[in-house]
């Protein structure tokens, strides 16, 4: 037991540098990973899909897809994995790491870009650099599928309208016969500028003992 502990800690050290998580956070996440995978080295789509809490999430497919997307691994690869190991799991998670007080402006900017890229990739399923209308529609339809009241037609129309908005804000003087192929990353960034991604797209990763954190969390 002790041997594995040190070995894994050594391995983690690597990951700390790569992902920016603290050692404790990684240990915690590793526990979770093992729980999800049933103590396997890798994890498959099915095991993520079977998480009960996810059952109600309308965009579950996209999110799980993002975990298996090679583009989210900070490498210039495309395509998708069949199964991911802990490292990949952690890499995806690292997109949601909150900034700390010490993060500099440049780092924040980089984080912002990364987060945006993650979101963008989630929409751009065929990896051609643009979110086409069809791609966007799928996401919006899925997103609204759970709310019941909005039918598919409306969802489609909403996607259309949103797309239009992007087109009109980004290409204000479009010639009549031009066709807006889709949202490029630059446009995407432009549109979401107001959303303060850097301060919102993250979650809390527990890094200490779980019990002490709980009370602190309930307060803030």
């Amino acid at each position: 037991m002790g041997a594995t502990q040190t070995r894994s800690e050594h391995k983690y050290q690597d990951l700390v540098e790569k992902t920016g998580f603290s050692l404790e956070q990684i240990t915690n996440l590793h526990k979770r990973f093992q729980h999800l995978s049933g103590n396997e080295e890798t994890i498959s789509k099915e095991s993520l899909e079977s998480i009960p809490a996810l059952a109600n999430n309308p965009i579950k497919k996209q999110i799980i897809g993002a975990f298996f997307d090679k583009r989210n691994q900070h490498q210039d690869e495309a395509g998708s994995f069949e199964e991911i190991g802990f490292e990949q799991f952690l890499m995806v998670m690292s997109h949601f790491r909150p900034p700390s007080l010490k993060t500099t402006e440049e780092e924040k900017e980089a984080m912002r870009k990364e987060k945006l890229r993650f979101l963008f990739n989630m929409h751009d399923t065929d990896n051609d650099g643009t979110i086409t209308l069809a791609e966007y529609r799928t996401v919006v339809e899925e997103l609204l599928s759970k709310s019941g009241a909005i039918g598919q037609e409306a969802a489609k129309a909403i996607a259309d309208a949103a797309m239009l908005e992007v087109a009109s804000t980004n290409v204000p003087h479009m010639a009549p016969d031009e066709f807006y192929e889709g949202i490029t990353f630059e446009h995407f960034e432009q549109i979401l500028k107001g959303l303060e991604m850097e301060s919102r797209m993250h979650i809390r990763f527990l890094d200490m003992d779980t019990t002490t954190m709980r009370c602190g969390k309930s307060k803030s």
Binding site: L29, E165, T169, F179, Y180, I191, M201, I203, R204
Partner: protein, 867 residues
């Protein structure tokens, strides 16, 4: 400047009238200070009038002057009027309000008014009494704050707000009380009869940041939303704390120092929780009650807004009755019910609620500040003790900062997004004290606290200092420190969609990573809320449209439709309907909106939609066309208001035509389906005709008889009239419209016949003709096309013919559009007729494709009055 001067003199005049009227009476008690009405009870009533309706009536008086009779409500109304006038004068001077916040100016106005009253009476007759303040002025301000509270933001920062509100306020109270006591012991303020508990009592009443003052100042500064919600939320919640602290210390004071022991202190702490949570609970219950009630007020739409206010006020009073925190109660009441009542009630009622809420809140805020100023002019309350007053000011300022920094330091360890140093500075600086503190100070019992007047005057000075000085310096400070400001723009649809994606994504990531965080909690709550609360509290029909996304979409749709129609008007026709997909799209868009607005008509239209749906399935052309449309619209944002106005006038007016029938319980809006439908169709038709004639610039209907001429002569006519249109634009259009509208098709069958026809030979570029003519029949807009079978009076072919003449002129615009390559040739062709008209320089419309300036837009303002 002149106007302002006049306003000022008017205001002063009215004030003087009050003063004179009051002083003419000559007995101070009879002044019946309106705001002390409840205190003085019967005294003023017992003062007999000198204006004879005594027993010695000799005959029937024709006119009697019964001042006593109306005294109190009269003065009250005058005061409200004066407050309103003050606000008006202040708001008229924008360059002043840019520098000095309104609240500070209002206080200064109060000084002036107070001085006048003092000059007239030599005694302070009007002042803010606790009863009036807490019962009649404060509730609506807080209710409004709760009702318009951004719930999500509030709850996601709840932890921080609570820490500031509870711990921060306790810290402020305790540190101030103890330090003052220490200084007293050290001999810094001479001979004062104040003990430790009294000091703590004073500390507790002045510790709380005041919601009214904070809203007033921060509303004008527009800091970022997190910072705003922190300060604002704190100021609201800490009231509970202050009132409890105040009550506890008040009880301690009356108990006397000897009897205070651990048990009493523990009781005090328990009572704090009871008061705070009990108050919130009462508010919550009343909020649910309002929501439930509005579920079934379908038949009493006129009075349903009243429920919100009455029940809100009852929540306040109930909490007060149970000695719970009334402010927390009414605030939570507003927060709980906002979502449900907005969904349940009629749209008009919702607007009514919003407006009344703002009127009341803004009004009482104004009155509060003015009376804070007036209260200052009173010799009896001013007791000066340099040490006490200056030390209080200093300690309040310093301890506020210390408290904020220490608490933020602790909070930042747990916050995902730490509060920055600059934000902390502003939070510390935003610790404004206000009327709540003053109200509490006047509630002090003079028999137990000897230095009550000193405390009141210190409180007043603190209020003036914070509201005026800090208020004035807040804005420059925010600018200087470069505090993150709030984004002013509304969220676009795509941002809303992304927000939703965000939420779900964060929940999912939390789920996957096995953390139980905010998002998880919120998701659970949302699910619960969706499942149970909405079902219980919301009308089933309301649940559908409640989604934010849908609302934005709906709004966008409406805007699009308006722009779309406006676009057509601008071009003088609805030519864009030429495009098949455009028809469909327009119809679709329109249909969505109209089904909300005019369900009965849509039922009709929907039959037709099934036929269209096959075209509609084809996504690409419609979208690409729309984009083009949108780009054009983007250049015409300024016209939006106009178009909206116009659309309302022309399109929706039919629905709103009131029958002139008196009823107190209903706004009688035409509900007869057939009638509405007919009116709708007529207006549409009428509009088309008007545009057409406006476009032509000629042809008052009187000159027109039924024409069924063949096409060729009309084509000629068109050329002629086109030429004419240059000269007649400005002159004839009004006329046209008036004719068109007054004729507004009470006899619909004659309408389509109002064809602009002028014999004559114009020069028309023949190149266009063959190309364009075949398209002409497509110009029949869908609603007209559908109207055909119903009316049956007009043969479609006839209309199509009739419409032909004016097509080429409009089509010119589209000609280049249709040529996808956009070669220069096409432009040359297009330019030929356009060149003639360009000299007019009608309106500077620099769209890429159209070579001709479109006709000037129809005179919206004029025709509005005629419909």
């Amino acid at each position: 400047m002149r106007r302002r001067g006049r306003l000022g003199s008017w205001l002063l005049g009215s004030v003087l009238v009050i003063c004179l009227v009051s002083s003419a009476k000559g007995d101070p008690a009879g002044l019946g200070p309106p705001l002390k009405a409840s205190d003085h009870g019967s005294t003023s009533g017992s003062n007999h009038s000198q204006h004879g309706h005594g027993p010695e009536i000799t005959g029937i008086p024709v006119v009697t002057f019964k001042w006593e009779h109306v005294l109190r409500p009269y003065l009250l109304s005058l005061w409200v009027l004066v407050a309103g006038l003050c606000k008006m004068v202040i708001e008229a001077n924008h360059h002043v309000t840019n520098i000095i916040p309104e609240s500070a100016l209002l206080i200064c106005f109060g000084f002036i008014l107070g001085a006048m009253i003092w000059g007239a009476d030599h005694v302070q007759t009007f002042s803010l009494t606790p009863t009036v303040f807490f019962f009649y002025l404060l509730p609506q301000v807080i209710l409004d704050a709760g009702y318009s509270m951004p719930n999500k933001l509030f709850f996601s920062n709840m932890g921080g707000i609570l820490v500031y509100a509870v711990i921060g306020t306790c810290w402020n109270a305790a540190s101030l009380g103890l330090s003052l006591w220490g200084c007293h012991q050290g001999g810094a303020m001479g001979d004062l009869d104040i003990g430790l508990v009294q000091y703590l009592l004073f500390g507790s009443l002045i510790a709380a940041v005041d919601p009214v003052a904070v809203i007033a100042v921060f509303e004008q500064v527009h800091v970022n939303e997190v910072l705003f919600i922190m300060v604002f939320g704190e100021s609201l919640l800490n009231d509970g704390v202050t009132v409890v602290l105040f009550n506890v210390f008040d009880a301690f004071v009356s108990l006397g120092g000897a009897k205070i022991n651990a048990v009493e202190i523990i009781k005090g702490i328990i009572s704090f929780f009871v008061v705070a949570f009990g108050g919130s609970l009462v508010g919550f219950v009343f909020g649910l009650l309002i929501s439930l009630l509005t579920r079934c007020t379908k038949n009493i739409k006129i009075i349903e807004p009243g429920f919100v206010f009455v029940l809100g006020y009852l929540a306040y009073l109930t909490a007060e009755m149970l000695s719970l925190s009334a402010i927390l109660s009414i605030m939570f009441c507003g927060m709980c019910c906002q979502k449900y009542i907005n969904a349940n009630m009629d749209e008009n009622s919702v607007n009514t609620v919003r407006y009344i809420m703002k009127v009341l809140a803004n009004g009482s805020e104004t009155i509060i500040f003015i009376f804070l100023g007036i209260s200052a002019v009173d010799k009896t309350i001013w007791v000066w003790n340099t040490g006490f007053i200056l030390l209080t000011l200093l300690f309040i300022f310093v301890y506020r900062f210390i408290g904020v920094f220490v608490l933020t330091w602790i909070l930042n360890k747990y916050r995902l997004v730490p509060l920055e140093f600059i934000d902390q500075l502003i939070m510390g600086y935003g610790g404004l004290r206000g009327a709540v503190a003053y109200g509490l100070a006047t509630m002090l019992d003079e028999s137990r606290i000897k230095e009550k007047n000193l405390m009141i005057s210190t409180t007043l000075i603190v209020v003036y200092f914070t509201v005026i000085l800090q208020g004035i310096t807040m804005k420059p400070l925010v600018t200087w420190l470069k505090v993150k400001r709030a984004a002013v723009t509304e969220l676009t649809l795509i941002e809303k969609v992304q927000n939703k994606v965000f939420d779900h994504m964060l929940v999912a990531i939390e789920d996957i990573s096995g953390q139980i965080g905010h998002n998880y909690m919120r998701d659970k709550w949302n699910n619960f809320e969706d499942k149970w609360m909405s079902k219980l509290l919301m009308k089933p029909s309301a649940r559908k449209t409640r989604d934010h996304l849908f609302q934005v979409f709906h709004k966008l749709n409406l805007k699009d439709a308006m722009n779309y129609v406006d676009e057509g008007e601008r071009r003088g026709s609805l030519e864009f309907i030429r495009n098949e997909s455009a028809i469909v799209d327009f119809k679709k868009k329109f249909g969505d909106d109209l089904s909300e607005v005019m369900p009965d008509i849509m039922a009709d239209m929907s039959e037709d939609q099934s036929g269209m749906s096959s075209v509609r399935r084809n996504p690409v052309p419609s979208v690409s066309l729309e984009m083009h449309e949108q780009t054009m619209n983007g250049m015409r944002e300024t016209e939006d208001i106009n178009s909206h106005h116009l659309l309302q006038q022309h399109l929706y007016k039919g629905r709103k035509q009131h029958r002139h029938r008196y009823s107190r319980s209903h706004f009688d809006v035409n509900k007869d389906e057939n009638e509405v439908q007919e009116i709708f169709q007529r207006t549409m038709r009428n509009r088309l005709e008007s545009f057409k004639s406006a476009k032509m610039g000629v042809a008052p209907p009187k000159t027109i008889s039924k024409h069924t001429k063949k096409e060729p002569p009309q084509k000629m006519a068109n050329g002629k009239s086109l030429d004419k249109s240059k000269t007649y634009y400005s002159g004839d259009e009004d006329f046209e419209f008036s004719e068109g509208d007054s004729a507004s098709g009470y006899d619909s069958s004659t309408l389509p016949m109002r064809v602009p026809y002028r014999p004559g030979a114009g020069i028309e570029n023949p190149v266009f003709m063959p190309d364009l003519d075949p398209m002409a029949p497509l110009q029949i807009p869908p609603w007209i096309a559908e109207a055909e079978p119903d009316l049956g009076t007009v043969a479609p072919s006839q209309r199509a013919q009739v419409r032909l003449p004016w097509t080429p002129s409009n089509m010119r615009r589209l000609a280049p559009l249709r040529i996808s390559t956009r070669s220069t040739d096409s432009f040359v062709l297009a330019d030929i007729p356009g060149a003639q008209q360009r000299e007019e320089g009608g309106d500077s419309d620099d769209l890429p494709p159209p070579p001709t300036p479109p006709p000037p837009p129809p005179p919206h303002h004029r025709d509005g009055s005629r419909l």
